[in-house]
Symmetry: C2
Subunit: 126 residues, 2 copies
DNA sequence: TATGGTACTTACGAGAAGGTAAGTTAATGG
DNA sequence: CCATTAACTTACCTTCTCGTAAGTACCATA
């Protein structure tokens, strides 16, 4: 049984070569950066070069707590996805933006979104 | 500061149009299908049209328990990613393969892998 | 001296996810 | 009659994630 897809395994043309294990690890590593109840929504608030203050994000994201907002932002900052810009003022002002690499997530998320759109409707047999 | 990426937000050319919230939900939905300690490694064992028995997967995946293997396979089956082929024999024989849609994950995972490869090396300031 | 605004930080608890180990089923060969 | 084999299933426990709620620091203003 042959399959007609142009690619049957990821990374056929990559500069790296992967085994099943290292490819899975690589993708797992990428997914770990995106896992977290609030990361994607934060990401989408910052895509397109947008720069937002902490309080703007807090107001813009329905249901998030300060603790979670800060936690997810800090993780993404540590991962190199988010840039933190501090103004030394009182009251404090801190802005958040994506790094170039963070912005580069777009096409990848787009591919996932497109894939998800094609999900066949489930046929449930009783 | 301008960013040079051709796309600044996901799904510019999609047949669907997304708000920040619906796009985030869509990607979250896609990620949820892939989350789980063992799903990716299973996926990579089945990519390329491979068909494997339960016991082959069990032997091929280092450290997985039967409980987890079955759990993750069943979830992916319910999600339409994995196909389950039962032979009515004793002792039992059950094979697992990817659906066409499951195979179509490849380019999306490839995009993620490529993105992850480009992660800049972190500069940690003491 | 008291109040407010912004960006955090901490303590505590509930629930989900994952691990280990043992049990179940059903036909077949000895 | 008993053991074997493959594919599960169940009970129980630990660990991780997330949520709520409250507190902190700093300076400006009234």
């Amino acid at each position: 049984m042959e399959n007609k897809l142009p690619e049957t395994e990821p990374s056929k043309g990559s500069k790296h070569s992967y085994t099943r294990e290292t490819a899975a690890e690589g993708v797992e590593h990428a997914l770990k950066l995106l896992e977290g109840r609030w990361k994607l929504i934060i990401l989408f608030h910052l895509f397109g070069g947008q720069i937002k203050r902490f309080s703007e994000l807090e107001r813009g994201i329905q249901g998030i707590s300060q603790k979670m907002l800060i936690q997810q932002l800090r993780q993404m900052e540590a991962d190199g996805i988010v840039r933190r810009i501090v103004y030394h003022q009182v009251p404090p002002k801190v802005e958040y933006a994506l790094t170039d690499w963070g912005q580069a997530l777009c096409p990848a998320l787009d591919a996932l979104l497109t894939w998800a759109e094609e999900q066949p409707t489930q046929t449930v047999q009783p």
